[in-house]
Amino acid sequence: MRILKHPILDFPIKKTIHFKFNGIEYEGLEGDTIASALYANGIKKLSESIEHHRARGLYCAIGNCSSCYMIVDHVPNVKTCITPLSEGMLVESQIGKGALK
């Protein structure tokens, strides 16, 4: 869900960006990070923990904690909270350890 009106901040209408998450098409906005676009679409579970497959999502949202790792355009261990969203991006949950091919 997006905030449209705010007493202090202005949120101007931005260009729509199309991307895929686990094969399904979603929309984000220009200026979004991958994580903020997923969040706006109601997606909080991003990946799973390596050993016990527990749900993983954001924690710090500014690139410190590494909780938000996902596979982006086939590259693993991407910090999605600080990676800008771009048109046509393929975003996937990272299950297990990321492997560079």
Binding site: K5, H6, P7, I8
Partner: protein, 160 residues
């Protein structure tokens, strides 16, 4: 209790009010109960009615004779801890800071709320001012029954 839930006691509140006879004109009520490093109320007052001094941790002291109740300190206080109060016949009229949307509409009736967040009365919105100098803190003039002089602190829309 201020330390436990942010609610000032009646005694603390009354200590910030002048004698009721002085409220025939609006006066600033500065509910700054703690020493924190801060002085915009003092530096913003065009009548030099608020004194803090060189040690900016000290709590502000109001010179009631110099205060005109203009409300500049109300929208300057980063803690939103100041309002003005005035007694007009059987009404208590306040100017409060307000930073939410939608803003109150003039002549509408909102709920008057006390420091514990409880609805205590009806509040008539008399004026809403939002100049660029206020930097997005609206100054809302609101009137309630005068018996709520020491209880009223803010307004809430009746839908909630």
């Amino acid at each position: 209790m201020l330390d436990k839930n942010g609610v000032a006691s009646l005694e603390q509140v009354k200590s910030r009010f002048p004698e009721q006879t002085r409220l025939l004109k609006p006066k600033a009520i500065i509910e700054c109960y703690e020493d924190i490093p801060c002085n915009p109320c003092s530096t913003s007052c065009p009548f030099h009615a608020i004194e803090i001094g060189d040690d900016i941790n000290l709590q502000p002291r109001l010179n009631i004779d110099l205060c005109t109740g203009c409300g500049i300190c109300v929208t300057s206080c980063p803690g939103l801890a100041i309002m003005t109060a005035e007694l007009r016949e059987n009404r208590a009229v306040f100017k409060i800071p307000y930073e939410f949307i939608p803003y109150p509409v003039v002549n509408s009736v909102w709920s008057g709320v006390n420091r514990d967040g409880k609805v205590i009365c009806d509040a008539i919105i008399e004026k809403v001012s939002l100049t660029s100098k206020q930097d997005k803190t609206a100054l809302v003039t609101v009137s309630v029954d005068h018996k709520y002089l020491y209880d009223f602190v803010t307004v809430r829309t009746k839908n909630e």
